[in-house]
């Protein structure tokens, strides 16, 4: 056979593929123009903030710009012994510029984060350096404070030289770079974030499980009862959607608090005594209950739309062939709804991982999640780069879950309605 496939030409001699492209071009432009506003909107409000967050989370250029000469001089220093005279001289000249611009305080803070005790010796240096003579700066600086003769301080300064750092990411998983540049865990009692991540995943996981077990029967009922009842039931499922999230969470607070309706009720029926009413709010229980209720529709709707497509004759066929109702359900009905289960679970899990308001209001100390911590760093400590790092980790975590799901179930099988 001829290996070179012959080019197909249209009647006027133009290759078919070119002719086709030409014919399609107008439609393509039209389609692009139709989506252009959305594309632009997404670019401005979604893609660029993510980009901004990313640069912010790894940005360490402030100190790089403050000590340009020092870092240049440090390039020739091996980092083992005390740095040579050249480094001391460049540092002093950089520092003089900072003092003139009155930005030396920021440098102190930044270096203090890297190594404790930096700030005080820099302040002392600022006072003493006015009397410095030209030449032999190394000796003069060391005479200000003996820590300037400690090589670990200079090593700490050198570590801040690269314009980018992954320090914030390490911090978010309770790790840091030690003096030798090794990545190590922080001491056990100061580990905060790991617990928070694990708790976030745990809450999201269990909320998904709860939603599944509560949503599956509802969805099945919705898909099988006559339309006149299913419409009413559907409204009941959707009603929470039409109520403000804040209102729903607040009503859970009314129900779950220690003097709340649920507690009153179980005291009334004598399940517990009045003096030991259980704590159902400001802990994980509250977070679980409220989040499950709020996220339930996201499980029910995809399940419903899939179950709607499963013909009732499937179960009948299973039974008529001799399968017990359970076997028919488990071997036939359930596998046919698995794409809905996947879609619903993915949706609920992803929403739960990033949930903020509900854990904030009913979670208390033991029920808050990573997103609450991100908000805390955005609003209270103003460590935006740390908040950005955590936010991005959350984003990529979700993308990883999505990727995994795609590998296991296949995104094409998702049916959302």
């Amino acid at each position: 056979m001829n290996l070179k496939t012959e080019q197909i030409l249209t009647t006027d001699g133009v290759p078919l593929s070119i002719s086709l492209k030409k014919a399609e071009r107008k439609n393509k432009i039209k389609a692009f123009l139709l989506v252009a506003p959305l594309l632009l909107f997404l670019l401005i409000t979604y893609i660029s903030p993510i980009g901004e967050m990313f640069t912010r989370s790894i940005d360490d250029r402030m100190i790089t710009n403050m000590l340009p000469k020092t870092f240049k001089a440090m390039e020739n220093w091996d980092g083992q012994e005390l740095p040579p005279e050249e480094v001391y001289a460049s540092f002093l000249s950089d520092y003089k510029v900072l003092v003139e611009n009155k930005t030396q305080g920021k440098l102190g803070q930044r270096l203090n984060k890297e190594k404790n005790g930096f700030n005080s010796i820099l302040k002392k240096l600022k006072r003493k350096m006015k009397k410095f003579e030209d030449g032999n700066y190394k000796e003069q600086i060391i005479s200000v404070h003996k820590r300037f003769a400690d090589v670990t301080y200079w090593q700490a300064m050198k570590r801040t030289a690269p314009p980018y750092t992954i320090g914030k990411y390490l911090k978010a998983v309770d790790m840091y770079e030690d003096q030798n540049g090794d990545i190590v865990q922080v001491e056990e009692k100061r580990r905060v974030y790991k617990t928070l991540w694990i708790r976030t995943l745990e809450v999201a996981f269990f909320v998904t499980i709860f939603c599944f077990f509560m949503g599956y029967p509802i969805a099945h009922l919705l898909a099988t009862i006559p339309v006149k009842y299913s419409n009413l039931l559907m409204i009941c499922v959707l009603l929470p959607f039409w109520t403000s999230l804040l209102v729903r969470t607040a009503s859970w607070m009314i129900l779950l608090q220690q003097q709340g309706l649920v507690n009153d009720f179980i005291v009334m029926i004598g399940l517990v005594g009045d003096e030991n009413r259980p704590q159902m709010m400001y802990n994980k229980v509250g977070t679980y209950v409220a989040m499950t209720q709020i996220l339930l529709p996201f499980m029910v709707l995809p399940l419903y739309s899939v179950m709607k497509t499963v013909s009732p004759s499937m179960m009948r066929a299973g039974k008529s062939l001799g399968g017990t109702p359970f076997v028919s359900f488990w071997k036939i009905y359930f596998p046919l709804t698995i794409s809905g289960v996947g879609a619903g679970s993915l949706l609920v899990f992803i929403l739960a991982v990033g949930y903020y308001i509900t854990p904030e209001l009913v979670g208390g100390a033991s029920g808050t999640l990573i997103s609450n911590n991100i908000a805390y760093h955005m609003k209270q400590t103003l460590d935006w780069s740390f908040a950005s790092a955590m936010g991005l980790m959350l984003l990529f975590g979700v993308l990883a879950i999505y990727w995994l799901y795609n590998k296991l179930v296949g995104v094409d099988n998702i049916k959302l309605g």
Partner: protein
């Protein structure tokens, strides 16, 4: 081997869904072992409901259903051992053909090699060997249909129910599947209860046909009797084509009666009329009326051709006869009678034995 003539028995079965309307009324039906019986009727006549009650998906409101002498009303569907072919096949889309066929055997805890043998046998019965690993979606409609039939038979059920199984197929495929199902039935001798609204399907396949209307069996007989000797005007109307004359009986004899139409009289065969003065509908099959008959016939009239419709193997002629312009004649296409023209007058004759005087419509 003696066959049980009451293998499946509907004993005075009533069924109502809403407590107001009876969908099935006082159904009395015996089905013999190894019989191919068809429930035929227009939609909403209760035939599918009967099938669902037999399968166990609906419970009779009143009366009993017996299978081989045992009352089955309280046995759940999965313990009845009745195979079923569904309207839309209901093949399990997430299982291969093999798994679909193995399902009823697996739930019966049959050994693996036994399953293989049975599946292989069932597939060869519908000539689908080699399709074991296909998914249902990879099969054509006809192939899916055959898999559904094989699946309903693979566990050797005593009775197989088929609920309009050929409804979704095109005409040619439907016809060939009709023969195929009929041959399978003949070769394995299973009892088949078949539901359809397609009369030609029923006539082709069945040993006996039960014609349903308004929840009642109108007539239960074999195909030729059903066609040749309809018991009432509904059956006459529903099965095949039919010319009708409405009139009043003016004279009645043992096997002949005189029916007065608007301005003429015809002779007919009294079937469901007893006495003079009764209203009646006379039914005559189009192929029983002849043009210019050479034999002596006791009904001879002249009609005017209103329309000639060419149908390939035969020509259909619509006549204005005895005050009605809906009289249909079926003329086989042989070279002798191709000169039929509209508004031509022709002589028509038929025997009174073929004109059945039935209940009035």
């Amino acid at each position: 081997m003696s066959k049980n003539p009451e293998f499946v028995k509907f004993d005075k079965v009533d069924k109502s869904y809403d407590g107001k309307v009876l969908v099935v009324k006082d159904l009395q039906l015996d089905i013999a072992e190894g019989e191919f019986i068809t429930m035929l009727g227009p939609s909403g006549s209760g035939k599918t409901t009967c099938l669902m009650m037999l399968a166990g998906f609906e419970t009779p409101t009143h009366g009993e259903i017996l299978l081989d002498g045992n009352i089955i009303s309280n046995i759940p569907p999965h313990k009845r051992g009745i195979g079923m072919v569904f309207q839309n096949y209901a093949l399990f889309p997430h299982m291969t053909v093999y798994e679909n066929l193995a399902f009823p055997l697996r739930v019966r805890k049959i050994q693996k090699d036994e399953i293989d043998k049975k599946v292989d046998k069932a597939l060869s019965m519908v000539s689908l060997n080699g399709f074991e690993s296909r998914m249902p979606a990879q099969l054509s409609g006809g192939q899916q249909q055959r898999v559904a039939v094989a699946r309903a038979l693979v566990f050797d059920p005593a009775v197989v129910l088929m609920d309009e199984p050929l409804g979704a197929l095109d005409k040619n495929l439907r016809e060939s599947m009709q023969y195929e199902i009929k041959h399978i039935h003949e070769s394995i001798g299973v009892t088949v209860v078949y539901v359809t609204h397609d009369q030609s399907e029923a006539l082709t396949m069945s040993n006996r046909i039960a014609v349903f209307n308004n929840g009642k069996v109108q007539q239960l007989s074999n195909p030729s009797e059903l066609y040749e000797k309809p018991a009432n005007s509904f059956v006459a109307e529903f099965i095949g084509e039919n010319n009708t004359f409405n009139g009043e009986v003016v004279d009645i004899d043992k096997d002949k009666c005189k029916v007065k139409l608007v301005n003429s009289e015809i002779l007919a065969n009294p079937i469901s009329i007893k006495s003079k003065g009764e209203k009646t509908t006379v039914s005559l099959r189009p192929e029983r009326a002849l043009i210019n008959p050479t034999d002596k016939m006791d009904n001879m009239f002249t009609g005017k051709i209103e329309e000639v419709i060419y149908h390939g193997d035969h020509t259909r002629v619509r006549l204005n006869l005895l005050g009605s312009s809906e009289f249909i004649l079926k003329v086989p296409n042989s070279s002798s009678n191709l000169d039929l023209k509209v508004s031509q007058d022709i002589n028509i004759g038929w025997n009174s034995a073929d004109a059945r005087a039935l209940d009035p419509k």
